[in-house]
Amino acid sequence: MDAHVAQLQMQYRNYILSLYQQGFLDDQFTELKSLQDDGSPDFVAEVLSLFFDDCVKLVGNMARALDQTGTVDFSQVGANVHQLKGSSSSVGAKRVKGLCINFKELCEAKNYEGCVRCLQQVDIEYKTLKAKLQDMFNLEKQIVQAGGIVPQVDIN
């Protein structure tokens, strides 16, 4: 077996495990991976791409809603948080989802500073996840280009 491929595969495995261990991903991500097959090899990438588009849009909405000089419409912010919570949950973006749960409470409490801080965290968090997943996809590509197959990673 090609040592280079084996090394990449090991790297990949460790990387995936670390993403779960550090709480970036949860079992819904595993579920999505399980829905991917040779017939739909880009399913996960496609869903994630839509998710990150969603993040950009929703964070933008929230920033605008929180940027009102005057009264902030917290229900508007909350509605966007709800949507982000939903999609992060659907893709297994565990940390983003967790932040959304806090965010929702802050909206309900109409805690302006709290909301602003939380929004900043959400922004950082989804971008971090995006970078991590990009690295993961790059590793997959490298493995395939080196002639190997992307290993299934048992996270249990």
Partner: protein
């Protein structure tokens, strides 16, 4: 590849790519299940679509209750002849949607003569018992907690198929609710117990299509190939509630006295 009925059904359903409005007669294939999925979230639509396709369903996904009604031809009063050919076997809808909620959509569907018999499943990210109860009271067949998993969809699929085989019994009931009329098919007590993650034991990173029928231990009904009669044929309107197989706390069981 496995030689069981699940795979051959999958094969033939892939061969029979019948268009939505183009079917003149009831489909002959068990797997010609057409599901209308309603969700305002694009991410969720893509996921539910994939889940349904993996379980051999044809899917139409729309982004709002209004579009769903439009699709069903319920947005105006005209009784179109096209509706006879529009076969929808299941409607699965998100609860929280702007404009028209899933609950409101459910009510409209149950008020319609053409589609009230179609099972409606509600999805929600929130496990609110009053919400679940309200939906079940209004005639929802089941309530799924998001994020929806393959096991959940397989379960839906299995009771749709189960209904077909109980040719004498009420088609809309879940098998465990149905009266064991003169069918040889025994109402499975708990084979439909599927906890959310049990169906595909552990490393589920890739799923082969054959697995779509292999997980819930379904009875022989999967293997035969008699015609699928549409649940719409069923005349029993009074059967409102069916209990959903246990599993997660969200599955609230509505234990009504069995109709017999």
């Amino acid at each position: 590849m496995a030689r069981d009925g699940g795979v051959s059904c999958l094969r033939s359903s892939e061969m029979m790519r019948v268009g939505i409005g183009g079917m003149e007669s009831p489909p002959l294939d068990l797997d010609e299940v057409h599901v209308l999925a309603v969700d305002d979230s694009l991410v969720d639509r893509i996921v539910i679509e994939r889940l349904l396709r993996i379980t051999s369903c044809k899917v139409t996904a729309v982004d709002s209750g209004w579009r769903a009604l439009e699709f069903l031809g319920l947005d105006n009063e005209k009784a179109s002849a096209e509706l006879d050919r529009l076969k929808v076997d299941l409607i699965i809808t998100d609860y929280c949607m702007p404009g028209m909620t899933g609950y409101e959509l459910l009510k409209k569907i149950k008020e319609s003569s053409s589609f009230r018999q179609v099972p409606v499943v509600i999805m929600s990210s929130e496990n609110v018992l009053t919400r679940i109860d309200r939906c079940l009271e209004e005639g929802a067949e089941d309530f799924l907690l998001k994020p929806v998993k393959l096991a959940d969809v397989k379960r839906l699929r299995s009771y749709l198929t189960g209904d077909v085989k109980l040719s004498n019994a009420n088609k809309r009931k879940l098998p465990e609710d149905s009266v064991p009329v003169n069918t040889s098919f025994p109402p499975p007590p708990s084979p439909f117990t599927i906890s959310p993650d049990s169906s595909d034991s552990s490393p589920p990173l890739t799923i082969s299509p054959e697995l779509s029928d292999s997980s819930p231990p379904l009875s022989p009904l999967e293997i035969s190939s008699s015609p699928l009669s549409s649940p719409i044929d069923d005349e029993d309107d009074d059967d409102v509630l069916t209990s959903s197989p246990e599993s997660s706390p969200a599955r609230r069981q509505k234990m009504r006295s069995p109709l017999d």
